[in-house]
């Protein structure tokens, strides 16, 4: 890839980022997915926490916020491809010279950045309504973890997007993907509570390592080595997702061009 290609792709990703922010901003479904839903999760978890007299509210805040990141990526990212299919713009973005993955990257980045607002709202809920002590034990490590979390989620979304490109029927299975990822990634409780056979599945998911890094740095329950391992896994898996998504996207696009599923009437 030449410097000119990189510059052009960067501009396209930025254009897709800005366009997605502007399109999503006034949308009630977006608001529900990235703010209201994590807020409900946080509310229930905080009640349980307060009832039991436990004190790790920051775990709940981070975990609830992460459910918003995943739901946003799954529903807004997945829906956006089907929405483009129904509105006739999917053909236009497939028929232009930039790889579709670059556009999806920009869209995913916008969705994940927007979804971080859910975490902020959950923090406000715990602090203002439940009056829980909330402090991030390792703020600098937490900030780096958050940045890498964005990378991990965006690239994970790139692997999911080609599946939605394949056929509008895939949308039917969208709901089924939401809770398994919450559980496998340990957003709200440790994966040690799950059966042992599911652990390898968690290990190949970038969001699992993101949850480990964020929970560990927020509660102070992880050593520096553990945090560094989580960062390394996030970066390594993101690289694998990037390589995989390009190939998957090419395959699914070829299939969609063969099956005539780029546009729905």
């Amino acid at each position: 890839m030449s410097i000119a290609d990189l510059r052009n792709n960067g501009r396209v990703a930025w254009a897709a980022f800005v366009m997605t922010l502007r399109m999503n901003a006034p949308d009630p479904f977006t608001l529900f997915t990235i703010v209201v839903q994590p807020l409900i999760v946080a509310l229930l978890a905080m009640w349980m926490l307060v009832e039991r007299g436990a004190s790790n509210a920051i775990f709940v805040v981070v975990g609830s916020g992460m459910t918003g990141l995943w739901s946003g990526l799954l529903f807004l990212g997945g829906n956006s491809i089907n929405w483009e299919r129904w509105t006739g713009t999917l053909e236009l973005i497939v028929g232009q010279p930039t790889p579709v993955s670059v556009i999806v990257f920009g869209k995913n980045l916008a969705i994940v950045v927007q979804s971080l607002s859910g975490m902020v709202v959950c923090y406000a809920l715990a602090a203002l309504i439940f009056r829980q002590p909330l402090s991030v034990e390792e703020p600098l490590l937490f900030a780096v973890s958050l940045l890498l979390t964005v990378v991990a989620f965006v690239t994970f979304g790139l692997v999911i997007a080609p599946i939605f490109l394949l056929s509008p029927a895939v949308q039917s299975f969208q709901n089924a993907l939401e809770f398994p990822i919450y559980m496998l990634c340990g957003f709200l409780f440790p994966i040690a509570l799950l059966p042992g056979w599911s652990t390898p599945l968690s290990y190949i998911l970038g969001p699992y390592w993101a949850a480990r890094a964020l929970h560990g740095t927020a509660t102070g329950g992880a050593s520096l080595d553990e945090v560094l391992i989580s960062w390394g896994m996030m970066l390594g898996l993101s690289l694998i997702y990037l390589l995989l998504s390009g190939r998957l996207m090419d395959l699914m696009l070829k299939r969609a061009r063969a099956d005539a599923t780029l546009r729905m009437e």
Binding site: R11, A15, R22, M23, T87, Q96, P97, T98
Partner: protein, 323 residues
Amino acid sequence: MNAIEVEHLRREYKARMGVIRRTTKLVVAVDDISFDVKPGELFGMLGPNGAGKTTTVKMLTTLLLPTRGAARVLGFDVAKQADKIRGRIGFIFGGERGLYWRLSGTDNLRYFASLYHVEPEVSRKRIPELMEMVGLGDRAKEKVEGYSRGMMQRLHIARTLLHDPEVLFLDEPTIGLDPVGAREVRQTIRDLQAEKKTILLTTHYMFEADALCQRVAVINKGNIVALDTPQALKGHVADLSVVEVEVFGIPLEVVERVRSQSFVDTVSVEDMDQRQTLRIQTARGSEAVSDLIGLLSGLRVGKVVVREPTLEDAYVRLVGGEA
């Protein structure tokens, strides 16, 4: 080198039917078509709805893979070298879809300019020029959701010109427009042709093809049934006259009875509320009128007109009365 080369192109679809007992039916949308378009030519594809025009355009714009045959645009294969074609062509599909309704006209163009790698300083100058050219200069900052269908269609034309493409595919660009809007779009197409752009235009309006195109391929049921200049196509009906009979509530079997007569070449029926106009092409001209009236006995018959055939009649004859 031709700008577009199409060789024995075929496209099949699998149509699925039923819920419990699902069956698959093979539909041939385009069946073995071949044609070339020269650089700078305005080439028309004319045919009724479902004839295969849009499917052909979608294959040429790399959005659909052909089932068989080959097509090249600017020398590149549409199936295998799509990446080399996409930046050098522009396309629009008729209708209101294909725009971001929550964004303004300008924001739509800005987004697509980025996708087509138009340098920011170029797009800053070109977008207002294009909006003026398509008559949307004063509505450019408004959200697309408030645009009329004609305005959306013109915005599509502006969008497709952003990256100054060498070949344009315009699929029914005037469909659903009011007469004034359609005339404006046709003038824009003429202007583009004057700039020596290669244009493939699909339409089901004969007069549009006649007014704009240098050559026209008439396509029906996935096949090209005639390919020539509009003038030469008119020669297809030089030997015929057209008898138009106004009738009220004509049953289908009577239309079929008329169609089966040896002196009748083609029959088409135009519905207008309670009455229909039966349009019969025949070599016998006014001599056929008494026989026709006899076939319509028992029906209320209004005006009867015998006239010379037009280009539209040539088209009707070529597509077998299905227009």
